[in-house]
């Protein structure tokens, strides 16, 4: 196994409140890692620390190391913008750029990153939308506003937008929680397909979703990582009683 991300002694705060306490775990390349836990357990903070967007919040602080291919993303020489390029993120609520067309939404990141050739942009946009399993639904209306799409389509557009700049890791913070079951199934299917090319970390409230899509699962509680193991083990024979109680719905 190749370790894509190595998280060492990661601590995070909001002001004086500590949201993450000494998190240590390795994330395998080309795998899907699910992060589960009750509200307020720190799972969203955890993924936001993985691409340096936690620190964007006022008074937020991070301590510890996150090694991307062995290189600490928190070292002084690392440019946070470059980190976020290599580690992309999809948020809970689909957030396409509302004033832009479907095409422009996907092209925007490329343009910001300096790609100028028109046909190159068009190629990447088509490839990304296809990879996000959205092409057949939008190919005839690429220049319509992204807001004309359904929620599920918008979320796949956001995934296409993330994929377009070819990140190495994709963080997903409850990417399907605002979607209907069919759209959710599409997103889950998509995650399974694209993990061949990317390393994916997904935060989810939906335990069945974690069980369905992920290879590894981490269970967080009150800012601590209680258990991290293969998903098949976590859901059949968890090692910690608190994990068992959470996934069987005894609390949370």
């Amino acid at each position: 196994m190749t370790k894509k991300l190595v998280i060492e002694h990661l601590n995070a705060w909001f002001g004086t409140i500590q949201a993450l306490k000494d998190i240590n775990l390795d994330i395998e390349e080309n795998s899907v890692t699910a992060v589960i836990g009750p509200s307020g357990c720190g799972k969203t903070t955890f993924v936001r620390c993985l691409n340096r967007i936690h620190e964007v919040v006022d008074n937020a602080k991070v301590k510890g190391n996150v090694l991307l291919d062995g290189e600490n993303i928190y070292s002084n020489t690392m440019d946070p913008v470059l980190v976020r390029r290599r580690i992309g993120m999809v948020f809970q609520k689909p957030n396409p750029f509302p004033t832009m067309s479907i095409f422009e939404n996907v092209a925007a990141g490329l343009r910001l990153n300096g790609t100028k050739k028109k046909n190159e942009i068009a190629d990447v946009v088509e490839k990304s939308i296809k990879m996000a399993a959205l092409w057949d639904e939008v190919k005839d209306k690429l220049y319509k506003s992204a807001t004309t799409l359904s929620g599920g389509q918008q979320q796949r557009l956001c995934i296409a937008r993330t994929i377009a700049i070819e990140p190495e890791v994709i963080l997903m913070d409850e990417p399907a929680s605002a979607l209907d079951p069919i759209s959710t199934a599409r997103i889950e299917e998509l995650i399974q397909q694209i993990k061949e090319r990317y390393t994916i970390v997904i935060v989810t409230h939906n335990m069945q979703q974690a069980a369905r899509v992920s290879d590894y699962t981490g269970f967080f509680l009150l800012g601590e990582l209680i258990e991290f193991n293969r998903t098949s083990d976590i859901f059949t024979n968890p090692g910690d009683k608190r994990t068992e109680d959470y996934i069987t719905g005894r609390f949370g």
Partner: protein, 220 residues
Amino acid sequence: MERKFDEELKELSGMLMKMGSLAQTMIYKSIKALADRDRSLLKDVYTLEDSVNLLHVEIDDFCLKLLALRQPQAGDLRMVTAAIKINTDLERLGDQAVNIAQRTESLLERPAIKPLVDIPRESTIAQKMVNDSLDAFIKKDVKLAEDVLTRDDTIDDINNQVFRELLTYMMSDHTTIPIAFDLIFVSKNLERIADHATNIAEDVIFMVIGKDIRHHLSIK
């Protein structure tokens, strides 16, 4: 937090216990009918089989609904899958009792060729194994389940001994063949009953600690 699902799991345990006690009664009566040469006990065995068969279907149906509607995880998942397997073993226990009852009917039509010694002993051990495996299930008692597993060899030894002894009868007097044959089958049925108890004990261990010890294989 007590969940509605916990009530359903208790109900499932209750159904299995009921089925287990019916199967145990069937075994007890079929063997007692043979030992006491009392044909009147056999009717109960056949009547009880209907109840066991009904529970067999009801328990599978209930488990299927729990899997579909509750989507159990972890210990709950192991409990429901163990229940499905134990259900099959309990139904087979009933079948073995019916087989013993049928052999007994044929045996009671002829005089005994010898006093029964080993078969009652085998039956006592096998019945205790069934009883303890079910006890281990309801108490989630891994130690007791492991203890059940250690007794299977004794049963195999007795079964072999019964076979060898009855073989000598058949060789010296061919008129004993039908009787000896029936007795060998009864002993074999008891040996199978002990195997089902062993299966149940193995399922209990998996259910409680998540470790599959069957066939001395370790998957992980």
